[in-house]
Symmetry: C2
Subunit: 249 residues, 2 copies
């Protein structure tokens, strides 16, 4: 393995370009559409904003009414931030570490009813949760469990007849990069959609899609760069020397 | 002016690359920070997601507690879509043309009180509304007026003493591209922050920032492209022949 510094790189960071990430998303979009058929995306802001916007381009579906038109999959944004992470925290603490800065739409003027009624639009849908990177898994764990809770609460508020009329709600997660290494939270990931088990109107598992699986290296995202030209130069230089994060099969 | 087709371009569309847009945002970020001092951004989804995320990188501020740390400006996302546009509609209809798919955070489980109490966090802040392009101005008009309404409603719900304790709320708009041409909605744009007039706790005008002002040409945004490599190739080709949309001074 070449020493990054010996070829003029400042460090061993992985530096994907905008185009790299755009194409990583393109390459997995068909698989997500054909396997999971997402009805809407929940983008975890700010990191999930760019992946969700690009993914929407590749997930466009034919309009039922006008076949010449393409329909966009709706995106709901939620805002989550991590408190400073402490190692070896308990399952209970993990949720508390996350700060909620925005949640699902609850109607024009914030009616608790909307979240309760249809879980902010998630009820009966195939919901794709989107973020940039799965590192400690803490944020994804929080997002999945809180969204699942909203769905279960709205189902619980229904009569058996109403509940029977609602299609099952399914969740999947899409991240651009899944970093290998110890995770600090668990997700009930199912290997294939065929393993999907619906209990009380909700899937008990969650599909998981990562456009790229990387070693636990530091990733410099293009949208975080003050000098994007230099970022792209270093990215090309690393590639030339076979450095950066090779995708793990 | 060279005919695009004569040099192998399919049309006269303007094709900015990710890097173009990243640098356009970089070039105006300091002006926005120094003039307007935004406290938070309201990103109009899906188009405003990418600009808001990149702008956040350039608007980072020193942390008061720990000067070694940089603080991110919070982003709230709102979801707006246009109905099919009809020419020459009345002011009254303009608002109705916009579909609201998500609004400001109204608390973990959607309490009307939060929007009423502090306008979903906007009250007393310098609020920067972010979108990709200002074409007909319809969406921006809707976003600005509805956010302003929320602020005025929360101010109206206060006692004179409470109201006196709240700093003024200011609005500014940032778009990557302002397309010249007829607008179908008006904004009370003020030429400079010096023209800012505060009435009843809210600025009567709105600052307006466009990273680039373009002729009314069609803009192909990179995040809408199925083939980003081809998009970049055509972008470079147009540039080589002095085509594409020159910034209007």
């Amino acid at each position: 393995m070449v020493d990054p510094k010996s070829v003029g790189l400042p460090d061993d960071h992985w530096r994907p370009t905008y185009e790299d990430i755009h194409e990583l998303i393109r390459d997995i979009a068909n698989k997500i559409r054909d396997e999971f058929h997402p009805d809407l995306m929940v983008a975890i802001g700010g990191g999930g904003f760019f992946p969700a916007r690009v993914l929407r381009t590749f997930l466009k579906t034919q309009d039922q009414v006008d076949p010449k038109k393409k329909r966009n999959i709706p995106i709901q944004a939620i805002g989550l931030s991590l408190y400073e992470e402490v190692a070896g925290v308990s399952e209970e603490v993990i949720g508390k570490e996350v700060v909620r800065t925005q949640w699902l739409d609850s109607g024009s003027h914030g009616s608790p009813d909307k979240i309760k009624k249809d879980a902010g639009g998630l009820l009966g849908k195939n919901v794709l949760i989107v973020d940039e990177v799965d590192d400690s898994r803490t944020t994804l764990h929080y997002a999945y469990n809180e969204l699942l809770k909203d769905v279960k609460e709205s189902l619980a508020s229904m009569s058996p007849e109403e509940r029977a009329s609602v299609p099952p709600t399914r969740f999947a997660i899409f991240v651009v990069h899944n970093k290998l290494g110890p995770k600090r939270a668990e997700l009930p990931i199912i290997a294939s959609p065929a393993d999907d088990k619906i209990v009380d109107g909700v899937s008990t598992g969650v599909h998981y899609y990562a456009a790229e699986t990387t070693p636990p290296v530091w990733i410099d995202f293009p949208w975080e760069q003050e000098d994007i030209a230099e970022h792209n130069r270093l990215s090309a230089l690393a590639r030339k020397h076979g450095l950066g994060a090779p995708s793990v099969p």
